[in-house]
Symmetry: none
Subunit: 261 residues, 2 copies
Amino acid sequence: MTSFVSTQARGIRLAVMDTDSGFVQVLVKRLEPTDWHHRVSAVPLQVDTLVGMRLDAVVLDLTIVGNQGWSYLETVCDRMPGLGVVVCTGRSSLAQRVRGLRLGADDWVTKPCHPEELIARVEAVVRRRTRDALRQEASSRVIGELEIRSEHFQAFVAGASLDLTRREFELLQLLAGAEGRVLPREEIYQRVWGYAMARGDRSVDVFVRKLRSKLERSSPGWRYIHTHFGVGYRLEGEPVAGEPLAAPGVPDTGAVALSHA
Amino acid sequence: MTSFVSTQARGIRLAVMDTDSGFVQVLVKRLEPTDWHHRVSAVPLQVDTLVGMRLDAVVLDLTIVGNQGWSYLETVCDRMPGLGVVVCTGRSSLAQRVRGLRLGADDWVTKPCHPEELIARVEAVVRRRTRDALRQEASSRVIGELEIRSEHFQAFVAGASLDLTRREFELLQLLAGAEGRVLPREEIYQRVWGYAMARGDRSVDVFVRKLRSKLERSSPGWRYIHTHFGVGYRLEGEPVAGEPLAAPGVPDTGAVALSHA
DNA sequence: ACCGGCTTTCACAGGACGTTCACCGCTGAG
DNA sequence: CTCAGCGGTGAACGTCCTGTGAAAGCCGGT
Protein backbone atom coordinates (compact mmCIF):
# COMPACT_ATOMS: atom_id res chain seq x y z
CA MET A 1 0.00 0.00 0.00
CA THR A 2 1.37 3.03 -0.85
CA SER A 3 0.80 6.39 -1.09
CA PHE A 4 -1.89 7.29 -3.29
CA VAL A 5 -4.88 5.26 -2.61
CA SER A 6 -4.48 5.30 1.06
CA THR A 7 -6.09 7.94 3.06
CA GLN A 8 -8.40 10.03 1.13
CA ALA A 9 -10.66 7.61 -0.64
CA ARG A 10 -10.47 4.69 1.75
CA GLY A 11 -10.66 4.76 5.48
CA ILE A 12 -7.54 4.51 7.56
CA ARG A 13 -6.32 1.01 8.31
CA LEU A 14 -5.48 0.88 11.98
CA ALA A 15 -4.28 -1.72 14.45
CA VAL A 16 -4.77 -1.21 18.17
CA MET A 17 -2.60 -3.20 20.57
CA ASP A 18 -3.80 -2.64 24.10
CA THR A 19 -5.17 -4.63 27.02
CA ASP A 20 -7.20 -1.87 28.61
CA SER A 21 -10.54 -3.36 27.59
CA GLY A 22 -12.56 -0.43 28.80
CA PHE A 23 -10.60 2.03 26.77
CA VAL A 24 -10.51 -0.19 23.72
CA GLN A 25 -14.23 -0.75 23.92
CA VAL A 26 -15.01 2.93 23.89
CA LEU A 27 -12.54 3.48 21.10
CA VAL A 28 -14.03 0.75 18.94
CA LYS A 29 -17.49 2.10 19.58
CA ARG A 30 -16.33 5.43 18.30
CA LEU A 31 -14.75 3.86 15.22
CA GLU A 32 -17.88 1.90 14.39
CA PRO A 33 -19.64 4.54 12.30
CA THR A 34 -16.48 5.51 10.41
CA ASP A 35 -15.06 3.83 7.33
CA TRP A 36 -11.84 2.93 9.11
CA HIS A 37 -10.67 -0.63 9.16
CA HIS A 38 -9.44 -1.58 12.58
CA ARG A 39 -8.12 -4.62 14.31
CA VAL A 40 -7.66 -4.96 18.03
CA SER A 41 -5.17 -7.19 19.77
CA ALA A 42 -4.33 -7.61 23.43
CA VAL A 43 -0.84 -8.85 22.64
CA PRO A 44 1.87 -7.29 20.50
CA LEU A 45 1.51 -8.67 17.00
CA GLN A 46 4.46 -10.16 15.19
CA VAL A 47 6.16 -7.57 13.07
CA ASP A 48 5.76 -9.74 9.99
CA THR A 49 2.07 -9.92 10.67
CA LEU A 50 1.88 -6.16 10.88
CA VAL A 51 3.68 -5.85 7.58
CA GLY A 52 1.14 -8.08 5.95
CA MET A 53 -1.76 -6.03 7.23
CA ARG A 54 -0.96 -3.05 5.05
CA LEU A 55 -1.69 -0.61 7.81
CA ASP A 56 -1.69 3.14 7.85
CA ALA A 57 -1.14 3.41 11.58
CA VAL A 58 -0.89 1.52 14.86
CA VAL A 59 -1.85 2.51 18.37
CA LEU A 60 0.40 0.72 20.78
CA ASP A 61 0.35 0.42 24.54
CA LEU A 62 4.01 -0.14 25.31
CA THR A 63 3.30 -1.78 28.66
CA ILE A 64 1.84 -4.88 27.02
CA VAL A 65 5.11 -5.59 25.27
CA GLY A 66 6.99 -5.98 28.52
CA ASN A 67 10.72 -5.69 28.74
CA GLN A 68 11.29 -5.57 25.05
CA GLY A 69 9.07 -2.59 24.50
CA TRP A 70 11.83 -0.39 23.17
CA SER A 71 13.26 -2.91 20.78
CA TYR A 72 9.78 -3.80 19.58
CA LEU A 73 9.01 -0.16 18.94
CA GLU A 74 12.29 0.32 17.18
CA THR A 75 11.78 -2.74 15.01
CA VAL A 76 8.30 -1.67 13.99
CA CYS A 77 9.43 1.84 13.07
CA ASP A 78 12.43 0.48 11.23
CA ARG A 79 10.67 -2.17 9.20
CA MET A 80 7.74 0.03 8.26
CA PRO A 81 9.01 3.56 7.85
CA GLY A 82 5.76 4.66 6.31
CA LEU A 83 3.62 3.50 9.18
CA GLY A 84 2.19 5.98 11.66
CA VAL A 85 3.01 4.94 15.20
CA VAL A 86 1.11 6.35 18.14
CA VAL A 87 2.22 5.11 21.53
CA CYS A 88 -0.59 5.21 24.05
CA THR A 89 0.27 4.35 27.58
CA GLY A 90 -0.48 5.00 31.22
CA ARG A 91 1.71 7.16 33.42
CA SER A 92 5.01 7.69 31.68
CA SER A 93 8.11 9.68 32.47
CA LEU A 94 9.49 12.48 30.39
CA ALA A 95 12.52 10.36 29.56
CA GLN A 96 10.36 7.52 28.32
CA ARG A 97 8.34 9.78 26.06
CA VAL A 98 11.44 11.38 24.61
CA ARG A 99 13.04 8.02 24.04
CA GLY A 100 9.97 6.64 22.33
CA LEU A 101 9.65 9.64 20.04
CA ARG A 102 13.34 9.48 19.18
CA LEU A 103 13.09 5.79 18.35
CA GLY A 104 10.58 6.60 15.67
CA ALA A 105 7.17 6.96 17.30
CA ASP A 106 5.13 9.73 15.76
CA ASP A 107 3.13 10.63 18.82
CA TRP A 108 2.83 9.66 22.47
CA VAL A 109 -0.45 9.92 24.27
CA THR A 110 -0.88 9.49 28.00
CA LYS A 111 -4.00 7.85 29.42
CA PRO A 112 -6.52 8.71 30.53
CA CYS A 113 -7.26 10.02 27.11
CA HIS A 114 -10.42 10.69 25.21
CA PRO A 115 -10.91 8.50 22.12
CA GLU A 116 -11.76 11.54 20.08
CA GLU A 117 -8.36 13.05 20.72
CA LEU A 118 -6.60 9.79 20.00
CA ILE A 119 -8.41 9.51 16.71
CA ALA A 120 -7.59 13.09 15.84
CA ARG A 121 -3.94 12.39 16.58
CA VAL A 122 -3.94 9.27 14.44
CA GLU A 123 -5.46 11.31 11.65
CA ALA A 124 -2.79 13.96 12.08
CA VAL A 125 -0.05 11.35 11.95
CA VAL A 126 -1.44 9.68 8.84
CA ARG A 127 -2.07 13.02 7.20
CA ARG A 128 1.54 13.99 7.70
CA ARG A 129 2.67 10.75 6.14
CA THR A 130 0.37 11.04 3.17
CA ARG A 131 0.94 14.69 2.49
CA ASP A 132 4.20 14.34 0.68
CA ALA A 133 3.11 11.36 -1.32
CA LEU A 134 0.01 13.12 -2.52
CA ARG A 135 1.77 16.22 -3.62
CA GLN A 136 3.86 14.63 -6.33
CA GLU A 137 1.12 12.97 -8.26
CA ALA A 138 -1.03 15.79 -9.36
CA SER A 139 0.80 16.69 -12.52
CA SER A 140 0.96 14.63 -15.64
CA ARG A 141 4.55 14.28 -16.64
CA VAL A 142 6.09 13.85 -20.08
CA ILE A 143 9.31 11.96 -20.62
CA GLY A 144 10.45 11.29 -24.13
CA GLU A 145 7.45 9.88 -25.99
CA LEU A 146 5.95 8.83 -22.70
CA GLU A 147 3.14 10.61 -20.92
CA ILE A 148 2.31 9.74 -17.34
CA ARG A 149 -1.19 10.62 -16.22
CA SER A 150 -1.59 10.15 -12.51
CA GLU A 151 -5.29 10.76 -12.62
CA HIS A 152 -5.67 7.81 -14.97
CA PHE A 153 -3.20 5.58 -13.19
CA GLN A 154 -1.74 4.99 -16.61
CA ALA A 155 1.04 5.91 -18.98
CA PHE A 156 0.44 6.67 -22.64
CA VAL A 157 2.42 6.86 -25.87
CA ALA A 158 0.71 8.74 -28.66
CA GLY A 159 -2.57 8.45 -26.84
CA ALA A 160 -2.36 4.69 -26.48
CA SER A 161 -2.27 3.19 -23.02
CA LEU A 162 0.60 0.96 -21.97
CA ASP A 163 -1.78 -1.17 -19.90
CA LEU A 164 0.35 -0.94 -16.83
CA THR A 165 -0.71 -2.82 -13.75
CA ARG A 166 -0.94 -1.05 -10.45
CA ARG A 167 2.54 -1.89 -9.24
CA GLU A 168 4.07 -1.18 -12.60
CA PHE A 169 2.51 2.24 -12.64
CA GLU A 170 3.55 3.00 -9.08
CA LEU A 171 7.11 2.09 -9.91
CA LEU A 172 7.09 4.23 -13.03
CA GLN A 173 5.57 7.13 -11.15
CA LEU A 174 8.15 6.91 -8.42
CA LEU A 175 11.00 6.88 -10.91
CA ALA A 176 9.46 9.79 -12.79
CA GLY A 177 9.11 11.75 -9.57
CA ALA A 178 12.83 11.39 -8.98
CA GLU A 179 13.46 13.55 -12.07
CA GLY A 180 16.48 11.77 -13.39
CA ARG A 181 18.03 10.91 -10.06
CA VAL A 182 19.21 7.40 -9.32
CA LEU A 183 17.01 5.61 -6.83
CA PRO A 184 18.58 2.83 -4.77
CA ARG A 185 16.73 -0.48 -4.79
CA GLU A 186 16.03 -0.32 -1.09
CA GLU A 187 14.39 3.04 -1.43
CA ILE A 188 12.29 2.00 -4.39
CA TYR A 189 11.06 -1.01 -2.53
CA GLN A 190 10.39 0.98 0.58
CA ARG A 191 8.37 3.61 -1.18
CA VAL A 192 6.41 1.44 -3.57
CA TRP A 193 5.84 -1.60 -1.38
CA GLY A 194 5.63 0.38 1.83
CA TYR A 195 8.03 -1.55 4.01
CA ALA A 196 11.68 -2.48 4.18
CA MET A 197 13.09 -4.76 1.50
CA ALA A 198 14.17 -8.20 2.56
CA ARG A 199 17.62 -9.21 1.48
CA GLY A 200 17.53 -11.16 -1.73
CA ASP A 201 14.16 -9.84 -2.82
CA ARG A 202 14.13 -9.44 -6.59
CA SER A 203 10.70 -7.88 -6.97
CA VAL A 204 12.09 -4.55 -8.05
CA ASP A 205 14.14 -6.14 -10.80
CA VAL A 206 11.21 -8.15 -12.05
CA PHE A 207 8.98 -5.10 -12.27
CA VAL A 208 11.68 -3.12 -13.98
CA ARG A 209 11.81 -5.86 -16.57
CA LYS A 210 8.05 -5.78 -17.08
CA LEU A 211 8.09 -2.02 -17.37
CA ARG A 212 10.93 -2.10 -19.86
CA SER A 213 9.10 -4.68 -21.86
CA LYS A 214 5.96 -2.59 -22.11
CA LEU A 215 7.92 0.57 -22.77
CA GLU A 216 9.85 -1.14 -25.53
CA ARG A 217 6.68 -2.43 -27.08
CA SER A 218 5.00 0.98 -27.14
CA SER A 219 7.95 3.22 -27.67
CA PRO A 220 10.83 1.52 -29.45
CA GLY A 221 13.55 3.94 -30.35
CA TRP A 222 13.66 5.20 -26.80
CA ARG A 223 15.32 3.93 -23.68
CA TYR A 224 13.87 4.98 -20.38
CA ILE A 225 15.05 2.95 -17.42
CA HIS A 226 18.79 2.92 -16.85
CA THR A 227 20.49 0.46 -14.54
CA HIS A 228 23.14 1.63 -12.12
CA PHE A 229 25.08 -1.41 -11.15
CA GLY A 230 25.16 -2.07 -7.45
CA VAL A 231 22.89 0.88 -6.76
CA GLY A 232 19.51 1.01 -8.42
CA TYR A 233 17.65 2.53 -11.36
CA ARG A 234 17.15 5.88 -12.99
CA LEU A 235 14.47 7.12 -15.38
CA GLU A 236 15.38 9.34 -18.27
CA GLY A 237 14.19 9.52 -21.84
CA GLU A 238 16.95 8.82 -24.30
CA PRO A 239 16.62 8.17 -28.02
CA VAL A 240 18.24 4.93 -29.05
CA ALA A 241 21.55 5.75 -30.69
CA GLY A 242 21.69 3.33 -33.58
CA GLU A 243 18.22 4.01 -34.82
CA PRO A 244 17.40 7.57 -35.70
CA LEU A 245 13.89 7.14 -37.02
CA ALA A 246 13.20 10.58 -38.39
CA ALA A 247 16.28 12.54 -39.37
CA PRO A 248 19.40 10.36 -39.44
CA GLY A 249 21.88 13.10 -38.77
CA VAL A 250 19.98 15.21 -36.31
CA PRO A 251 17.21 13.48 -34.43
CA ASP A 252 14.97 16.41 -33.67
CA THR A 253 13.49 14.56 -30.76
CA GLY A 254 16.89 14.65 -29.11
CA ALA A 255 16.27 18.04 -27.67
CA VAL A 256 13.25 16.76 -25.85
CA ALA A 257 15.17 13.86 -24.48
CA LEU A 258 17.73 15.99 -22.77
CA SER A 259 15.36 18.70 -21.74
CA HIS A 260 15.56 17.86 -18.07
CA ALA A 261 19.08 19.17 -17.71
CA MET B 1 25.50 1.21 1.40
CA THR B 2 27.90 3.66 2.44
CA SER B 3 28.18 7.25 2.65
CA PHE B 4 26.42 8.71 -0.27
CA VAL B 5 22.87 8.21 0.76
CA SER B 6 23.80 9.08 4.27
CA THR B 7 21.96 12.29 4.58
CA GLN B 8 23.90 14.29 7.05
CA ALA B 9 21.07 15.80 8.95
CA ARG B 10 21.03 19.47 8.39
CA GLY B 11 19.70 21.30 11.38
CA ILE B 12 15.97 21.82 11.59
CA ARG B 13 14.74 25.31 10.82
CA LEU B 14 12.25 26.24 13.47
CA ALA B 15 10.15 29.26 14.37
CA VAL B 16 8.77 29.66 17.87
CA MET B 17 5.83 31.98 18.37
CA ASP B 18 5.14 32.36 22.05
CA THR B 19 5.01 35.03 24.72
CA ASP B 20 5.87 32.84 27.69
CA SER B 21 9.36 34.27 28.07
CA GLY B 22 10.38 31.81 30.75
CA PHE B 23 9.52 28.83 28.66
CA VAL B 24 11.04 30.29 25.53
CA GLN B 25 14.21 31.13 27.35
CA VAL B 26 14.70 27.58 28.55
CA LEU B 27 13.87 26.24 25.12
CA VAL B 28 16.35 28.51 23.40
CA LYS B 29 18.99 27.55 25.90
CA ARG B 30 18.44 23.94 25.03
CA LEU B 31 18.62 24.67 21.29
CA GLU B 32 21.86 26.57 21.66
CA PRO B 33 24.26 23.63 21.36
CA THR B 34 22.34 22.04 18.47
CA ASP B 35 22.68 22.84 14.80
CA TRP B 36 19.07 23.95 14.57
CA HIS B 37 18.23 27.37 13.25
CA HIS B 38 15.57 29.01 15.32
CA ARG B 39 13.74 32.29 15.44
CA VAL B 40 11.58 33.45 18.27
CA SER B 41 8.70 35.85 18.03
CA ALA B 42 6.20 37.03 20.63
CA VAL B 43 3.62 37.84 17.98
CA PRO B 44 2.20 35.69 15.21
CA LEU B 45 4.28 36.24 12.10
CA GLN B 46 2.67 37.06 8.81
CA VAL B 47 2.03 33.94 6.80
CA ASP B 48 3.97 35.36 3.88
CA THR B 49 6.89 35.93 6.18
CA LEU B 50 6.74 32.35 7.35
CA VAL B 51 6.70 31.12 3.77
CA GLY B 52 9.84 33.06 3.06
CA MET B 53 11.67 31.58 6.01
CA ARG B 54 11.86 28.10 4.49
CA LEU B 55 11.01 26.49 7.78
CA ASP B 56 10.78 22.86 8.70
CA ALA B 57 8.49 23.42 11.65
CA VAL B 58 6.80 26.00 13.84
CA VAL B 59 5.91 25.90 17.51
CA LEU B 60 2.87 28.05 18.03
CA ASP B 61 1.12 29.20 21.17
CA LEU B 62 -2.44 29.70 19.96
CA THR B 63 -3.31 32.11 22.76
CA ILE B 64 -1.09 34.83 21.36
CA VAL B 65 -3.09 34.91 18.16
CA GLY B 66 -6.28 35.93 19.92
CA ASN B 67 -9.65 35.49 18.35
CA GLN B 68 -8.36 34.51 14.99
CA GLY B 69 -6.36 31.61 16.29
CA TRP B 70 -8.22 28.97 14.33
CA SER B 71 -8.20 30.76 11.03
CA TYR B 72 -4.52 31.58 11.47
CA LEU B 73 -3.75 27.95 12.16
CA GLU B 74 -5.78 26.85 9.20
CA THR B 75 -4.13 29.34 6.89
CA VAL B 76 -0.65 28.32 7.97
CA CYS B 77 -1.38 24.62 7.49
CA ASP B 78 -3.04 25.30 4.19
CA ARG B 79 -0.39 27.53 2.71
CA MET B 80 2.51 25.35 3.82
CA PRO B 81 1.42 21.74 3.64
CA GLY B 82 4.97 20.54 4.16
CA LEU B 83 5.48 22.49 7.34
CA GLY B 84 5.40 20.74 10.70
CA VAL B 85 3.04 22.53 13.05
CA VAL B 86 3.20 21.93 16.78
CA VAL B 87 0.68 23.84 18.84
CA CYS B 88 1.92 24.49 22.34
CA THR B 89 -0.50 26.09 24.70
CA GLY B 90 -1.64 26.34 28.29
CA ARG B 91 -4.73 24.63 29.62
CA SER B 92 -6.82 23.52 26.69
CA SER B 93 -10.01 21.58 26.32
CA LEU B 94 -10.39 18.31 24.53
CA ALA B 95 -12.53 19.98 21.89
CA GLN B 96 -9.86 22.58 21.24
CA ARG B 97 -7.17 19.99 20.80
CA VAL B 98 -9.25 17.91 18.45
CA ARG B 99 -10.21 20.95 16.46
CA GLY B 100 -6.60 22.06 16.18
CA LEU B 101 -5.40 18.66 15.06
CA ARG B 102 -8.21 18.39 12.52
CA LEU B 103 -7.39 21.79 11.10
CA GLY B 104 -3.93 20.56 10.23
CA ALA B 105 -1.76 20.80 13.31
CA ASP B 106 0.62 17.88 13.59
CA ASP B 107 0.84 17.82 17.36
CA TRP B 108 -0.60 19.61 20.35
CA VAL B 109 1.42 19.97 23.51
CA THR B 110 0.03 21.27 26.77
CA LYS B 111 2.17 23.36 29.09
CA PRO B 112 3.79 22.93 31.43
CA CYS B 113 5.99 20.93 29.17
CA HIS B 114 9.65 20.03 29.25
CA PRO B 115 11.67 21.50 26.37
CA GLU B 116 13.22 18.12 25.71
CA GLU B 117 9.86 16.58 24.98
CA LEU B 118 8.84 19.48 22.79
CA ILE B 119 12.03 19.08 20.82
CA ALA B 120 11.53 15.35 20.49
CA ARG B 121 8.01 15.98 19.20
CA VAL B 122 9.23 18.53 16.70
CA GLU B 123 11.79 16.00 15.53
CA ALA B 124 9.11 13.36 15.17
CA VAL B 125 6.95 15.72 13.15
CA VAL B 126 9.76 16.75 10.87
CA ARG B 127 11.27 13.28 10.57
CA ARG B 128 9.23 11.90 7.70
CA ARG B 129 9.28 15.00 5.66
CA THR B 130 12.99 15.37 6.16
CA ARG B 131 13.60 11.86 4.96
CA ASP B 132 12.31 12.73 1.56
CA ALA B 133 13.48 16.28 1.37
CA LEU B 134 17.08 15.59 2.24
CA ARG B 135 17.74 13.49 -0.77
CA GLN B 136 16.98 16.45 -2.95
CA GLU B 137 20.31 18.04 -2.23
CA ALA B 138 21.61 17.39 -5.67
CA SER B 139 24.91 19.12 -5.23
CA SER B 140 26.84 18.92 -8.44
CA ARG B 141 30.43 19.92 -8.02
CA VAL B 142 32.71 21.18 -10.77
CA ILE B 143 36.44 20.61 -10.82
CA GLY B 144 38.34 21.61 -13.92
CA GLU B 145 36.45 20.16 -16.85
CA LEU B 146 34.91 17.61 -14.55
CA GLU B 147 31.37 17.73 -13.24
CA ILE B 148 30.32 15.41 -10.45
CA ARG B 149 26.59 14.79 -10.19
CA SER B 150 25.68 12.92 -7.05
CA GLU B 151 22.13 12.36 -8.16
CA HIS B 152 23.35 10.41 -11.17
CA PHE B 153 26.13 8.60 -9.37
CA GLN B 154 28.25 9.77 -12.25
CA ALA B 155 30.85 12.26 -13.38
CA PHE B 156 30.63 14.08 -16.68
CA VAL B 157 32.91 15.98 -19.02
CA ALA B 158 31.14 18.16 -21.55
CA GLY B 159 27.93 16.29 -20.91
CA ALA B 160 29.43 12.88 -21.58
CA SER B 161 29.46 10.33 -18.79
CA LEU B 162 32.73 8.82 -17.63
CA ASP B 163 30.97 5.51 -17.00
CA LEU B 164 32.35 5.21 -13.52
CA THR B 165 31.54 2.11 -11.53
CA ARG B 166 30.08 2.45 -8.11
CA ARG B 167 33.36 2.24 -6.21
CA GLU B 168 35.10 4.52 -8.64
CA PHE B 169 32.44 7.13 -8.17
CA GLU B 170 32.49 6.85 -4.41
CA LEU B 171 36.22 7.33 -4.42
CA LEU B 172 35.99 10.34 -6.67
CA GLN B 173 33.22 11.81 -4.59
CA LEU B 174 35.20 11.37 -1.42
CA LEU B 175 38.26 13.04 -2.89
CA ALA B 176 36.14 15.87 -4.24
CA GLY B 177 34.60 16.38 -0.83
CA ALA B 178 38.03 16.89 0.67
CA GLU B 179 38.35 20.08 -1.38
CA GLY B 180 41.99 19.79 -2.27
CA ARG B 181 43.23 18.31 0.97
CA VAL B 182 45.38 15.19 0.99
CA LEU B 183 43.57 12.08 2.15
CA PRO B 184 45.65 9.27 3.68
CA ARG B 185 45.10 5.81 2.20
CA GLU B 186 43.77 4.43 5.44
CA GLU B 187 41.14 7.13 5.65
CA ILE B 188 40.09 6.69 2.06
CA TYR B 189 39.70 2.98 2.54
CA GLN B 190 37.85 3.42 5.79
CA ARG B 191 35.36 5.84 4.31
CA VAL B 192 34.75 4.23 0.95
CA TRP B 193 34.94 0.57 1.88
CA GLY B 194 33.45 1.06 5.31
CA TYR B 195 35.96 -0.89 7.34
CA ALA B 196 39.61 -0.77 8.24
CA MET B 197 42.20 -1.36 5.55
CA ALA B 198 44.21 -4.54 5.82
CA ARG B 199 47.95 -4.08 5.70
CA GLY B 200 49.22 -4.53 2.19
CA ASP B 201 45.85 -3.94 0.57
CA ARG B 202 46.32 -2.16 -2.73
CA SER B 203 42.70 -1.62 -3.61
CA VAL B 204 42.90 2.12 -3.25
CA ASP B 205 45.84 2.30 -5.64
CA VAL B 206 44.07 0.16 -8.18
CA PHE B 207 40.99 2.32 -8.11
CA VAL B 208 43.03 5.47 -8.36
CA ARG B 209 44.56 4.02 -11.48
CA LYS B 210 41.16 3.20 -12.97
CA LEU B 211 39.91 6.67 -12.16
CA ARG B 212 42.97 8.31 -13.66
CA SER B 213 42.54 6.23 -16.75
CA LYS B 214 38.95 7.28 -17.27
CA LEU B 215 39.71 10.89 -16.41
CA GLU B 216 42.58 10.92 -18.90
CA ARG B 217 40.39 9.41 -21.57
CA SER B 218 37.63 12.00 -21.13
CA SER B 219 39.61 15.03 -20.14
CA PRO B 220 43.17 15.00 -21.45
CA GLY B 221 44.91 18.25 -20.81
CA TRP B 222 43.99 18.10 -17.15
CA ARG B 223 45.44 16.30 -14.20
CA TYR B 224 43.17 15.61 -11.28
CA ILE B 225 44.52 13.05 -8.83
CA HIS B 226 47.88 13.87 -7.28
CA THR B 227 49.95 11.30 -5.40
CA HIS B 228 51.58 12.21 -2.11
CA PHE B 229 54.33 9.72 -1.52
CA GLY B 230 53.97 7.73 1.64
CA VAL B 231 50.69 9.42 2.49
CA GLY B 232 47.80 9.28 0.09
CA TYR B 233 46.05 11.22 -2.65
CA ARG B 234 44.67 14.65 -3.33
CA LEU B 235 42.16 15.84 -5.91
CA GLU B 236 42.62 19.13 -7.68
CA GLY B 237 42.02 20.25 -11.22
CA GLU B 238 45.23 21.33 -12.91
CA PRO B 239 45.80 22.04 -16.59
CA VAL B 240 48.67 20.00 -17.97
CA ALA B 241 51.74 22.17 -18.23
CA GLY B 242 53.24 20.95 -21.47
CA GLU B 243 50.06 21.40 -23.42
CA PRO B 244 48.54 24.82 -23.13
CA LEU B 245 45.59 24.49 -25.44
CA ALA B 246 44.42 28.07 -25.52
CA ALA B 247 46.86 30.71 -24.39
CA PRO B 248 50.40 29.37 -23.81
CA GLY B 249 51.50 31.93 -21.29
CA VAL B 250 48.34 32.43 -19.36
CA PRO B 251 45.97 29.48 -19.38
CA ASP B 252 42.75 31.31 -18.71
CA THR B 253 41.11 28.08 -17.70
CA GLY B 254 43.51 27.89 -14.84
CA ALA B 255 41.46 30.34 -12.86
CA VAL B 256 38.46 28.11 -13.19
CA ALA B 257 40.42 25.13 -12.05
CA LEU B 258 41.37 26.67 -8.75
CA SER B 259 38.22 28.60 -8.21
CA HIS B 260 36.61 26.08 -5.94
CA ALA B 261 39.28 26.26 -3.31
C1' DA C 1 -15.91 -22.73 -6.02
C1' DC C 2 -13.76 -21.55 -10.36
C1' DC C 3 -11.11 -18.71 -13.28
C1' DG C 4 -7.87 -15.14 -15.01
C1' DG C 5 -4.76 -11.68 -14.15
C1' DC C 6 -1.39 -9.88 -11.13
C1' DT C 7 2.36 -10.53 -7.97
C1' DT C 8 6.00 -13.09 -5.85
C1' DT C 9 9.39 -16.50 -5.86
C1' DC C 10 12.76 -19.48 -7.95
C1' DA C 11 16.62 -21.15 -10.79
C1' DC C 12 19.85 -20.28 -14.17
C1' DA C 13 23.12 -17.76 -17.22
C1' DG C 14 25.91 -14.14 -18.56
C1' DG C 15 28.57 -10.54 -17.34
C1' DA C 16 30.19 -6.47 -14.78
C1' DC C 17 32.79 -5.51 -10.94
C1' DG C 18 36.16 -5.93 -7.19
C1' DT C 19 40.21 -8.20 -5.47
C1' DT C 20 44.54 -10.00 -5.74
C1' DC C 21 49.03 -10.92 -7.62
C1' DA C 22 53.42 -10.42 -9.91
C1' DC C 23 56.30 -7.35 -12.12
C1' DC C 24 58.44 -3.04 -12.96
C1' DG C 25 59.54 1.83 -12.55
C1' DC C 26 60.10 5.46 -9.43
C1' DT C 27 61.08 7.98 -5.04
C1' DG C 28 63.79 9.42 -1.41
C1' DA C 29 67.44 8.62 2.10
C1' DG C 30 72.11 7.40 3.24
C1' DC D 1 75.30 5.88 -6.53
C1' DT D 2 72.72 2.36 -4.54
C1' DC D 3 69.19 0.17 -2.24
C1' DA D 4 64.84 -0.67 0.05
C1' DG D 5 60.33 0.52 -0.04
C1' DC D 6 56.49 2.54 -2.25
C1' DG D 7 53.43 3.21 -6.04
C1' DG D 8 51.99 2.25 -11.14
C1' DT D 9 50.41 -1.31 -14.27
C1' DG D 10 48.12 -5.07 -16.55
C1' DA D 11 45.85 -9.27 -16.29
C1' DA D 12 43.69 -13.28 -14.13
C1' DC D 13 40.37 -14.90 -11.03
C1' DG D 14 36.32 -15.27 -8.20
C1' DT D 15 32.26 -13.08 -6.56
C1' DC D 16 28.17 -10.92 -6.72
C1' DC D 17 24.68 -8.50 -9.52
C1' DT D 18 21.38 -8.25 -12.90
C1' DG D 19 18.48 -10.04 -16.84
C1' DT D 20 15.36 -13.49 -17.97
C1' DG D 21 11.88 -17.09 -18.34
C1' DA D 22 8.78 -19.80 -15.96
C1' DA D 23 6.37 -21.76 -12.16
C1' DA D 24 3.90 -21.08 -7.99
C1' DG D 25 0.97 -18.17 -4.90
C1' DC D 26 -2.49 -14.70 -4.24
C1' DC D 27 -6.50 -11.97 -4.94
C1' DG D 28 -10.62 -10.24 -6.97
C1' DG D 29 -14.36 -11.04 -10.02
C1' DT D 30 -17.76 -14.24 -11.90
